[in-house]
Symmetry: C2
Subunit: 381 residues, 2 copies
């Protein structure tokens, strides 16, 4: 067990109809006004938009609307949000939507308390020392953004998809109502499943030490995601499966799974961030392309853990068979596993590799991951 | 999945030497003085006492010493602590020790902000609405008291061993350094293992619903506790095993395992609290007596989950075999499994049952657990 600090002060309000109390949660936390941020679609499905507005009004929380956040959220939109938050002097930010909305409100929350450009945080030119309080109501389970301090934003000018991580932007309160997630398309359900699985296996495979306890928690999460995804493909309205999927996805990236491991990193996310910075691919779809390729490339560096993975997840005896089984499962749920299936031309590999290599340097793993090795991985896809 | 609120704002500082920073943690949280509470032994082993004092002095945190807390901690001692905390106007409380010390400082923290008798909280005559900030340095892994809002205290006058649960007494920061736990005796290691397992199986068996995800997390915890206990019996200085044991025990009762289940309760703890209120038995030793007896009595009420338990933990096919396997494992680690082994006379059963039945009424499970049914369970032990 490596030394660690575990601190996750986000309160999760999980269950049916809890979004109707979001105004109360904000008021009880001591805030009277919010920037109400949302995307391009999910808040207007059903009654969520109306319920949110009604809840804020009822609780006496003033709000400034800020819609139109897109998936693979972009810096210019975050900068616009920061400007409004500063001008209107809102006391807090509320994101209603999926991971893109949650990530955007966190960046806005940090930017609103900073005199410089919010991008400074992403290129590690400045450290986040304070932020507006963040609240979220989630309409998609995948990113765990509802219970962590991470935010991934794309700078359209530089084609850099970079991230921040700070407890200052952990949501104070996040609402997870599985009912709000029932309208997600089968495509996005699959991409979400891939994303949640990806969050756990990065450290599972790359850490220098693997406490059995951490491995078991990861395996519990992956088993749950796989099992419930298959149920939800058949029956999107299965509330139990939707709930377990959502909560397992939250646990996948809230600090629990890496606590006590040592030296883990996120190469699949790194490569995928480059991929979707350059091509308009869903994060989960990009990950299901990268992961099997990366696993084939990386397995010799940590064979015992790949054998464990094969055994525990698929009851198979060797590492290659485990990798193939995961790849087949991605195909089964209709998530792409080759660049071609994701609509990315082979000629794009060099540019993606160069882009990812820059990120590798920023993340301090540039020794193992450079343009050559990343291209080598991508060629396996 | 049942609706739930998950909120656990305790920061865990896990690792070697972290106790030497406790003064800094307190100061950084904004406090200048503490009641420094400890027990009768563990703080004086090695350099922990000196390190604690040095850390407080170095950080400029004034302290009032309050030693002598015993296991199965008692109300009179808590009341004494409350009195000192009020008189000396300390800003926070720091417990250095095991679960008894942690539980005592929580009760002191609540009592110090209350005009009436602190026992009012335990008999649900009053609700905790505020408390002094709590900090802990743990020398024993078992209770998860370092990361929850629970406190169990015995009123010696009434022979009631009752509890409170409030996020107001969740520690702000808890230090878990596995090295500080290496001197625990084999007896107490075994009792700690039983306690941690007990925390997970109560809800695992008694909940009206069992999401697979929750069951998997519980099984991951139990497997880890059993595996690491066996390693530690052979080699008390195995740091990895000590660390995994400690962290798994923390996860066993920090709110994670029951989140989303429905209707679970704590009958084994209830009966054991009565048992150790009347007899001077270690909590874990009492639990290993009660659990197999209770399982035999209860199994027909939730047979599928008992079958799952047998399969997942011991690779056995039927419920009875699973219960026997757990009982045998308790015997293997030398924790008592009969009243006789725990030094409790059969004639004591009626009094224990009456005492536990009072608690059952307070906990709202008096319909199933009355003097007769509890005596029936105890006769199986």
């Amino acid at each position: 067990m490596n030394d660690f600090t575990y601190y996750n002060p986000t309160k999760i309000e999980f269950g049916k109809g809890k979004e109707k109390k979001i105004g109360t949660y904000i008021k009880e936390a001591g805030y009277d006004s919010v920037l109400l941020a949302y995307g391009t679609g999910s808040i207007k499905k059903g009654t969520l938009y109306d319920d949110t507005i009604a809840s804020l009004k009822e609780a006496g929380v003033a709000f400034e609307e800020f819609g139109g956040i897109v998936s693979n959220p972009v810096l210019s939109k975050v900068q616009e949000g920061v400007k409004i938050a500063k001008e209107k002097k809102v006391q807090a930010v509320l994101g209603v939507g999926g991971g893109s909305v949650a990530d955007s409100v966190k960046a806005i929350a940090a930017g609103a308390k900073y005199d410089g450009d919010v991008w400074d945080f992403f290129i590690q030119k400045a450290q986040i020392t304070e932020a507006l309080p963040v609240f979220t109501v989630m309409t998609l389970a995948a990113t765990a953004s509802e219970m962590n301090g991470n935010s991934v934003i794309t700078n359209e000018d530089t084609q850099q998809k970079y991230s921040i991580s700070s407890v200052h932007v952990n949501p104070l309160v996040s609402v997870i109502n599985p009912e709000l997630m029932a309208t997600v398309s089968k495509d996005y359900l699959a991409y979400s499943a891939v994303d949640a699985i990806a969050h756990t296996i990065e450290v599972y495979f790359t850490a220098a030490s693997h406490p059995n306890f951490n491995s078991r928690i990861v395996e519990a999460i992956i088993k749950t995601i796989m099992e419930t995804t298959e149920i939800l493909i058949e029956n999107p309205n299965d509330y139990e499966a939707r709930g377990e999927f959502a909560w397992a996805a939250t646990q996948a990236l809230n600090g629990l799974t890496p606590a006590g491991t040592h030296g883990g990193n996120f190469p699949n996310h790194m490569i995928e961030h480059a991929l979707s910075a350059l091509y308009n691919v869903s994060h989960g779809a990009g990950l299901s392309v990268v992961i099997p390729a990366w696993m084939k490339w990386y397995k010799e560096k940590n064979l015992p853990q790949f054998e464990r993975f094969a055994k525990e997840l698929f009851n198979l005896q060797d590492a290659d068979a485990g990798i193939s089984a995961l790849e087949s499962w991605f195909e089964k749920i209709s998530s792409p596993v080759t660049l071609k299936q994701a609509g990315i031309p082979e000629e794009g590999i060099a540019e993606i590799a160069d882009n990812a290599a820059e990120l590798a340097t920023l993340w301090g793993i540039g020794e193992l991951y450079n343009s050559e090795t990343i291209a080598e991985i991508l060629k396996k896809a």
